[in-house]
């Protein structure tokens, strides 16, 4: 008979993802194990006439211990959750059989029927390992199916065995007791392998090629140089290649908005659909290319075996600040976007280390800060481009410095402790699987849209509503301009007059909206930082996303809502005045605003992803309060210090 569901269990780096993809194709769904943030993939596979459910369990080395992964797998095997499988496929690497079989021995103490999938037999044979498969099967008391999952070899045999498994597992009589120590399981596996390898278990040979590559990749100098090269390529791809699909997405949603605008009459429903729903979905989907590309490349790097080596290269520096070596991928990725960065912290096994990385990753200057930096450094050093460039670089340094300082601070306070000293398996170097990488990118993109995406769209709709309502009447000047435009002037002049009227109406709308009213109300809080009500509105609206600051300021000074305003608009922002006629952007105010934007948490989608990845709202709240608090205090110090030394 065949079980209605089977679980896939194995050590990391045994080709588990490859086998899962071979069995289930691209139709797998990703969710979390109940009550945890550990990802669970579930797919369907055909076994004879039946369709069975395949559950991909987290990769792990032992069922013992306190790790979340071991607890989840023990729970699944004991039937603590609804996802109890009818059988288990234990995937083992034929070229590293000893350590892999210790996990199988532990698994055999449970009740589920087991089939051992003996993967990578081609590599084992190339290294001269000759295994007596029937003897191994007899000693373990379960079927053993030799296979090469990456080439699909042995899949039919595995499906046949799955279709004829017994309902209850009969344990080998000499199997250690369920509560036996790892050493006892190890001794038993030693005995099993002495039987299964004709002439006794072979001594492991040293792999000269792996030795040579490891010496280069883990060396303090050459390892660092290779790391800079690899990460530079990854960073470039995220920054540059992703812009093509991102532009296409924005263009498509722009067309969609125009289409809806042409069909629906003007009014609240049209505004809600175009600016709220379509704008919100566009603002979410636009992150997809970076997320998919990042996970595609991480999957390729992980497959090659490089990531484990790179973790050691960074561990020397990172651990001084309370971060693990594996934090390098999230922290580097955060320079493009904090969303994929936070999602990529799943590479970090220890929960404290993962939390510390999630909490500080958004300090890194993401691409959304770029237009803000360009605008504010230009205001700070309007006539000295070299100094503006230095200030621009300083923003990146300040962000990174704040991230490492905060990681150190969290390590001394809320997330007490040091990062777990690094002990990692260094897997054999392998050619990466393109299909695995594509499926991983698809899975992660899908998971992002299903979970964080829905929250982000809802947030965007609310923020749009705050910025668009209540509706205020058109200002008299705009009404006058429209009347002149309709009075029979030349078409080109009429178009220009209407455009100016649009801008005036947008500015009045911004000022009279709930966000505008809040800006005026909250302005006293930002007074010590040198901000007037207009700058406060800019800060408030940019809590949706930082780049909104530039378009908000542009609207306030009477320009359009472009993300990258032209020189004329920049000049108007530079010379915009407060209610008392003084300049809004003095040097001290511009510096204070720049520091605020480097450090503040002004990205609601990031908070949504933090909540999802940590499983708790409190971490998103702490992140918001801590980052914005640090931004406020630092901006205050900068503004007041500059004023104290006579720079206003």
């Amino acid at each position: 008979m065949s079980a209605s569901s089977v679980a896939l269990l194995g050590n990391p780096n045994t080709g588990k993802t490859t086998l899962f993809n071979r069995l289930c194709g691209a139709r797998a769904k990703t969710s979390n194990f109940p009550g945890t943030t550990t990802a669970m993939r579930v797919g369907r596979s055909q076994v004879g006439a039946d369709t069975i459910e395949v559950i991909d369990l987290p990769g792990l080395y032992s069922l013992q211990g306190e790790s979340p992964e071991a607890a989840i797998v023990r729970g699944v095997l004991r039937g603590d959750t609804e996802s109890r499988p009818g059988a288990v496929i234990a995937l083992v690497d034929a070229s590293n059989l000893f350590r892999n079989l210790v996990l199988v021995a532990e698994l055999l103490t449970f009740d589920e029927p087991v089939v051992v999938a003996l993967n990578m037999v081609d590599i084992a044979e190339r290294t001269g390992l000759r295994l007596d498969v029937p003897t191994l099967s007899r000693r373990l008391g379960v079927p053993v199916v030799p296979m090469v999952a990456s080439k699909g070899i042995g899949l039919d045999g595995l499906r046949t065995v799955l279709g004829s498994l017994p309902t209850v597992q009969v344990r080998p009589t000499d199997l250690p007791a369920p509560d036996a120590s790892l050493e006892q399981f190890t001794t038993w596996i030693d005995d099993v392998l002495n039987d299964a390898y004709p002439g006794g278990a072979p001594a492991a040979a040293l792999d000269a090629r792996t030795e040579r590559i490891d010496r280069v990749l883990t060396h303090p100098v050459s390892g660092t140089l290779v790391f800079i090269g690899v990460m530079g390529a990854l960073f470039w791809t995220l920054f540059e290649l992703a812009t093509v699909p991102m532009d296409l997405i924005e263009l498509t949603f722009g067309y969609l908005g125009s289409g809806v605008s042409a069909v629906l009459p003007a009014g609240a429903i049209r505004d809600l659909l175009i600016d709220g729903v379509i704008g919100g979905i566009a603002g979410t989907v636009v992150f997809l290319p970076q997320i998919c590309l990042l996970f595609f490349m991480i999957s390729l790097l992980e497959d090659t075996g490089y990531l484990a080596r790179a973790a050691f290269v960074n561990d020397r520096i990172f651990r001084r600040f309370g971060l693990p070596g594996q934090a390098f991928v999230p922290l580097l990725t955060a320079h493009a976007c904090a969303l994929p960065a936070i999602m990529s912290t799943r590479l970090i096994p220890d929960r404290r280390d993962r939390l510390a990385t999630i909490m500080v990753a958004p300090f890194m200057s993401c691409s959304a800060r770029l237009p803000v930096y360009i605008l504010l450094t230009g205001l700070l050093f309007a006539d000295r481009p070299a100094l503006a460039g230095l200030a621009f670089a300083g923003c990146y340094l300040l962000g990174s410095g704040a991230a490492f300082f905060s990681a150190w601070l969290f390590g001394k306070t809320g997330l007490k402790g040091s990062p777990r000293p690094m002990v990692l398996e260094l897997p054999t170097y392998k050619r990466p699987s393109l299909s695995n990488a594509l499926l991983t990118a698809k899975d992660q993109g899908q998971a992002f849209l299903q979970t964080a995406g829905t929250v982000i769209v809802a947030i965007c709709v609310v923020m749009w509503w705050l910025s668009a309502y209540p509706k205020v009447g058109a200002p008299a000047e705009a009404v006058e301009l429209r009347q002149t435009a309709d009075s029979g002037v030349a078409p080109a002049v009429a178009d220009e007059l209407r455009a100016r009227a649009d801008v005036l109406e947008a500015r009045a709308e911004q000022s009279g909206s709930f966000a505008g009213i809040m800006g005026r109300t909250i302005q006293p809080v930002f007074q010590p930082l040198g901000y007037d009500w207009q700058l406060t509105v800019g800060v408030l609206t940019s809590f949706l996303a930082r780049e909104v600051f530039v378009s908000t300021m542009s609207v306030i000074v009477g320009g359009g809502a472009e993300a990258e305003p032209d020189e004329g608009i920049r000049q108007r922002i530079r010379t915009m005045t407060r209610d008392d006629g003084s300049l809004v952007f003095t040097r001290a105010t511009a510096a204070s605003a720049l520091v605020f934007f480097v450090l503040a948490m002004q990205c609601l989608p990031t908070l949504a992803v933090t909540r999802k990845e940590t499983g708790k709202v409190k971490y998103a709240v702490i992140q918001l309060v801590y980052m914005s608090g640090l931004a406020y205090v630092t901006a205050l110090i900068v503004y007041q210090s500059m004023r104290a030394v006579g720079i206003s």
Binding site: L60, Y61, S62, Q64, G65, E66, S95, N96, L97, F98, R99, V102, L182, E183, T186, A203, A204, L206, T210, E211, D214, R215, T218, P220, A308, R309, F312, D315, R316, R319, R420, P421, M422, V423, L424, E425, L426, P427, T428
Partner: protein, 84 residues
């Protein structure tokens, strides 16, 4: 006459290429469990492939990277040349 067994030394003091038997890991229980689940079980035989940061050992077919902080707290008994 049988030579006296060598005294335990720190893994970080072992020479590259030397084979040794694991004696003791003076680490917290979680770290000890991590080492054991990777194959560094009580009295297992290991070969030191690289010293420094990280140090790399091979236990049967598994290569394990170990940070210097951990390696200093793992004690091994060197085995005579020719063993392993």
């Amino acid at each position: 006459m049988t030579p006296a067994p060598a005294a335990p030394i720190s893994l970080s003091d072992l020479a590259v290429g030397a084979v040794a038997r694991l004696h003791e890991a003076r680490l917290d229980p979680e770290a000890c469990h991590q080492l054991r689940s990777l194959g560094l079980t009580e009295s297992c035989q290991l070969r030191l492939c690289k010293t420094g940061e990280p140090c790399i050992v091979q236990v049967r077919s598994t290569r394990i990277g170990i940070s210097g902080a951990v390696a200093r707290r793992i004690f091994v008994v060197p085995l005579p040349v020719g063993v392993g």
